[in-house]
Symmetry: C2
Subunit: 167 residues, 2 copies
């Protein structure tokens, strides 16, 4: 399920499946690497961009260091709440974060997510690799609309970066 | 790293690696299936057999139902403590338990463990399958002495079953 775009350009999130148990995403942002990295690990910035526009994201717990836990809650307009959680395995500013990811609706189905931040000068390339225990779990994530949701989150992150840049 | 025994017989724990990311263990116990199953999910029985003889195991948390959490602490004679934890994905008495397993010394390295309990009349065959995200994590578990530790736990379980049987 590769996107039709072979090259990542600003404002295009490219999603590929290079192996049977992985999803890789690639996106270039118009901001320096330290700014982008901060948006991924600052609990005060997560509610500004994490999740689709239809939900309000609350950071219940966020300890961005090796062994630390995280938990975000996404509430929709009807008050329905989805929980997401995991453990940080590695936080290496401003280059790399490795963490687990678990949707509380499927407890015990654990994904390992590796995010790398490549310095392109005034721009930054973010590549995420999600590793699943099984192909079925990987395909379930793709079927859930993850690609659309991620693109929307990243658009929100663009808007946040524009606000931070003009502040 | 297969054991030299091809057949599981009472008191022999057979450990095999049928794929690059799995460890399978097989053991027959001299007790009916409901008794064995209880030993795996009863918080009062876990300290009697879970872990090597050199440690004292304390159940910090144990909610054996889908979505529930578990956490055991193993203390050695010097007061050193190792934590283990996970989430139950499925608990189907007396046949099957699926749970995640994480050693707190390597946070975020999550194994999926499936235990099946086969009714052999007065005896029960327990097969566990541990699925790792990577071969490296699987091999790390084998190198940790897991095979010896498991055999010792199962010997302790034999002794517990003998005590329960004669009670």
């Amino acid at each position: 399920m590769a996107s039709s775009n072979e090259q990542a350009t600003t404002a295009t999130t490219v999603v590929t499946t290079p192996s049977e148990r992985e999803i890789v995403t690639e996106r270039v942002f118009d901001a320096p690497r330290d700014v982008i990295f901060a948006a991924f690990i600052d609990p005060g910035l997560i509610p500004e961009w994490w999740g689709p526009r239809s939900v309000t994201t609350v950071v219940d717990r966020m300890e961005p260091q090796a062994g630390g836990q995280w938990r975000f809650l996404c509430r929709d307009a009807d008050g329905r709440e989805d929980g997401f959680r995991g453990t940080y395995r590695e936080v290496t500013p401003p280059e790399r974060v490795v963490q687990t990811f678990e949707w509380e609706g499927m407890p015990g189905h654990v994904i390992v997510e590796t995010a790398t931040f490549e310095d392109l000068g005034e721009r930054t390339r973010v590549v995420t690799t999600s590793l699943f225990h099984t192909t079925e779990e990987r395909d379930g994530m793709l079927a859930s609309g993850m690609e659309t949701g991620l693109a929307e989150s990243y658009e929100r992150l663009d808007e946040l970066l524009a606000r931070l840049g003009s502040a």
